[in-house]
């Protein structure tokens, strides 16, 4: 079989001493930057790019890829321990992961996140190896209309994310959508909602908003009442999940891997939807949905697997087609180009050692990540015992460094502080920031794709219904909404939405 021969070639490349070392370095750096709030893979890869000049292209890309998926592992650590999502994909993990940490189950949450991610990573790697080339066609089936409908479906999921009132969640989604429209209009170049203030002309960065409403606001809330703050004094509990918890997580992990893997292939950062979709699904099919938002292990296992599966399958359009689906992949294109490999549909045939070497290294990298992360769980959990008077300045400083590193703009740090105050206000008034962040992330794509679809269709809204995939996605969205908004349809509504 070709695949066996190819994988043999790949492992031959990936298992060389130098590439193993680079893979480990990438995974390790990735884990660290994932843990540091705000410092994302984009900034890190950009900084480390020149260092890879001296290495051959395969080794360089193995390391850079390791940083990317390593960051996805590490990102869950901060989300669980201190309720700060470093990336859009770990927003969902804060919901139940941080609750678990508050209950003294931080180790279990971190452990299941690592194991789920490992499983998802392995499956996704096989998936890329076996089906990478045919799956490219899926990416090409999604035009602007299909993408718009997918986003609409995603927004309907957001309602389910709410832990309290649906009305409040709805308001927050709308606020998120509104915030996403700040900046220069893509089609016309007009500035919107910037009040003539130049730093706003490119819109609000996700990291700025997320660090503010989660990170800074959380610190403010904890300072308000030093005795009751989350992190200290929580008993540590077991470090790793026990058998019953693993059994509970198997199905969510399988479902999360599948959902995340499929969404990861889509162009335009479909991977962002993965964890949200997985969480929604788990909450919907759970026997007792009221546990969600209060430390349900399924709410960590599913989304974390989806997140990691998506991170790996996002390589498919890049490796098979040469078209990057998101900003990190665009950077990988740059890295390949700098190393003299112009990404394109022929990379697989022209540079088989690169293509299969990278795929093999992803599997090895996932194994390394589990080995790096499981022993670290103990270390991270011990961090929770650091006195809060030492912890909160550290959190704030790392957040500031991270935010500054995104765009090298000092004003971003000031914005984060403002969003921190705003986030504190939201906590006081009982509004959830998670639906707002989802609205914000999806809003940009939603508007962009809707306008592209309408420009192509010359303004006819029928385009969303005439195209079968788009119509199918909209039907799912309508079904989700109907179940959510018509109480008489389902007696379970109370259980699902009001807790």
């Amino acid at each position: 079989m070709d695949m066996i021969a190819n994988l043999t070639l790949g492992f031959g490349v990936a298992l060389s001493l130098q590439n193993l070392a680079l893979c480990f370095a990438g995974c390790f750096i990735g884990t660290l930057i994932g843990v540091l709030p705000g410092v994302g893979p984009i900034a890190t890869i950009a900084i480390l790019l020149p260092i890879t000049f001296g290495v051959d292209p395969v080794g360089a890309l193995i390391m850079l890829a390791g940083i990317y998926y390593g960051a996805q592992y590490g990102g869950s650590t901060t989300a669980i321990l201190v309720n700060i999502p470093g990336e859009a994909t770990s927003v969902v993990t804060t919901l139940d992961g941080h609750q678990m940490a508050k209950q003294g189950r931080a180790g279990v949450a971190l452990g299941i996140a690592a194991l789920g991610s490992f499983f998802a990573g392995c499956v996704a790697t096989l998936f890329i190896a076996a089906l990478g080339a045919p799956l490219t066609k899926l990416a090409l089936l999604f035009g602007p209309a299909e993408y718009f409908s997918l986003m609409v479906m995603g927004l309907c999921f957001a309602v389910v994310l709410a832990r309290g009132s649906i009305l409040k969640a709805f308001c927050m989604i709308m606020l998120g959508l509104l915030l996403s429209t700040v900046g220069t209009d893509l089609e016309t170049g007009q500035e919107r909602l910037t009040f003539g203030f130049p730093p706003l002309s490119d819109g609000i960065d996700f990291a700025v908003l997320a660090m503010g409403v989660f990170g800074f606001a959380e610190v403010l809330r904890n300072l308000e009442n030093p005795e009751a703050r989350d992190v200290v004094k929580a008993k540590i509990g077991r470090l790793l999940p026990d058998w019953s918890e693993i059994k509970q997580s198997i199905n969510p992990v399988l479902r999360g891997t599948f959902i995340g893997g499929i969404l990861g292939i889509l162009p335009g950062n479909g991977a962002v939807l993965g964890p949200f979709a997985s969480y929604t699904l788990e909450k919907k099919i759970a026997k007792d949905p009221s546990r969600f938002g209060r430390g349900a292990i399924e709410g960590v296992a599913g989304p974390e697997s989806a997140n990691n599966a998506g991170a790996q399958t996002a390589f498919i359009p890049l490796l098979t087609l040469g078209i990057p689906p998101n900003a990190v992949m665009a950077l990988m294109v740059g890295a390949m180009t700098i190393h003299g490999i112009i990404p394109g549909p022929q990379v697989m045939t022209k540079n088989p050692e690169l293509f299969w070497g990278m795929i093999a290294s992803m599997w090895i990298g996932n194994l390394m990540l589990v080995i790096i992360n499981l022993p670290l769980v103990g270390v991270w959990v011990k961090l929770l015992q650091v006195p809060y008077r030492l912890m909160f300045p550290a959190i704030l400083i790392f957040c500031c460094i991270g935010i500054y590193s995104v765009n090298n703009q000092p004003v971003d740090v000031a914005f984060t502080a403002m969003f921190g105050l705003f986030g504190y206000l939201l906590i006081k008034l009982g509004f959830e920031p998670a639906p707002m962040l989802l609205g914000f992330v999806l809003g940009k794509l939603l508007e962009e794709k809707m306008r592209q679809a309408l420009i192509i269709s010359r303004g006819s809204f029928m385009t969303f219904i005439e195209r079968p995939i788009s119509a199918g996605l909209l039907i799912v969205a309508v079904v989700v909404l109907v179940i959510a908004l018509l109480p008489s349809i389902s007696k379970k509504r109370e259980e699902v939405f009001v807790e």
Partner: protein
């Protein structure tokens, strides 16, 4: 106390000695602002050139990516910096020639308000279309687009981008400025929809589209340069294909704030020239489909003339373009 005084004196002496020695620029790392995200075409050329310039200057040339507003945020920062040679920028056709006509509120004047240093390289522009788009060659394309200007769709990577700038010029020259234009966030997504056939055509840099053309995922009508590119030897030039007036290249070049001391400019020009003469650097640039600059274009005066020439060429089309 006496020991301390002696120590201080010694320290001061050393500091002064260092100061005297360090009169030749540069004594600390030079920041080269790239006004786009890392990994893009301008960033790649900047990194390749800066890598070699660091060797000549004896100080690291550090790339700082300051993206935003079509690259004008980063250039504004660079050309308003203290003119000491420690802040320079790698800009392109868009930020130096097209920006004044694209952004009415632009905070800098590329012609009179900055110091051009030199051209780093030119990147040819191609007219490409989805693989099953009806017209077979450039002549047929021109006829088809003129006849069906209500029907065709053009993709570009956002207002102010190279693809927008160069395609706006093409549409103006063909007399069909109002063709349906669909904006994308960057070349990647635009190319995705061109490959999948959602969009009919676009204009973009050879480095972005060459591999897709070679694989047959899209087709190229012509290259808007004087010569064919070794990367795509089968693609005719616009002159050969019957549209000689469409000549445009997406170049990248270095500039700094106005008022840079002459010796600093000379050092930078020499370092750039040396980088472009280095075999390794040359090879890497040529692999990207870059056209190496002529001796004239590597000088401040030659580069400034190029900026002015392309600004004059683009301004009427860009000012009149629907925004």
């Amino acid at each position: 106390m006496r020991k301390l005084t002696l120590g201080l004196a010694a320290a001061i002496t050393i500091a002064f000695a260092g100061g005297v020695q360090a009169q030749t620029y540069p004594t600390r790392p030079v920041t080269m602002i790239v006004p786009f995200a890392a990994g893009g075409p301008t960033d790649i050329i900047a990194r390749i050139v800066a890598d070699h310039m660091s060797k000549t200057l004896g100080q690291q040339v550090v790339i700082e990516n300051v993206a935003g507003a079509g690259g004008t945020t980063g250039i504004t920062r660079a050309v308003t910096a203290v003119p000491d040679g420690y802040t320079i920028a790698m800009g392109h056709l868009g930020t130096f020639s097209a920006a004044p006509a694209t952004y009415p509120g632009l905070k800098y004047d590329p012609i009179n308000g900055m110091q051009a240093i030199g051209l780093a390289g030119g990147t040819p522009i191609l007219i490409v279309a989805r693989k099953n788009f009806e017209p077979k060659d450039l002549k047929a394309f021109v006829t088809y687009v003129k006849a069906n200007s209500e029907k065709v769709n053009e993709a570009h990577a956002g207002l102010g981008s190279v693809s927008w700038t160069t395609c706006t010029l093409l549409k103006a020259q063909l007399g069909v400025p109002k063709i349906n234009a669909v904006a994308y966030r960057g070349t990647g997504p635009a190319l995705n929809d061109l490959v999948s056939g959602q969009i009919d055509f676009m204009c973009d840099q050879i480095v972005s589209v060459a591999e897709q053309v070679k694989a047959g995922n899209i087709k190229a009508y012509a290259i808007a340069s004087k010569q064919r590119s070794p990367a795509l030897p089968d693609v005719p030039t616009t002159a050969e294909a019957g549209l000689p007036e469409y000549q445009i290249e997406a170049w990248n070049g270095i500039a700094g704030p106005k008022g840079l001391p002459k010796d600093v400019v000379d050092r930078l020009v020499a370092a750039l020239d040396k980088a472009l003469n280095d075999e390794g650097t040359k090879k890497r640039l040529l692999e990207l489909g870059t056209v190496l600059p002529t001796a004239e274009e590597r000088t401040p005066a030659g580069f400034a003339a190029l900026i002015k020439r392309d600004a004059d060429k683009l301004s009427p089309a860009l000012s009149a373009a629907p925004k």
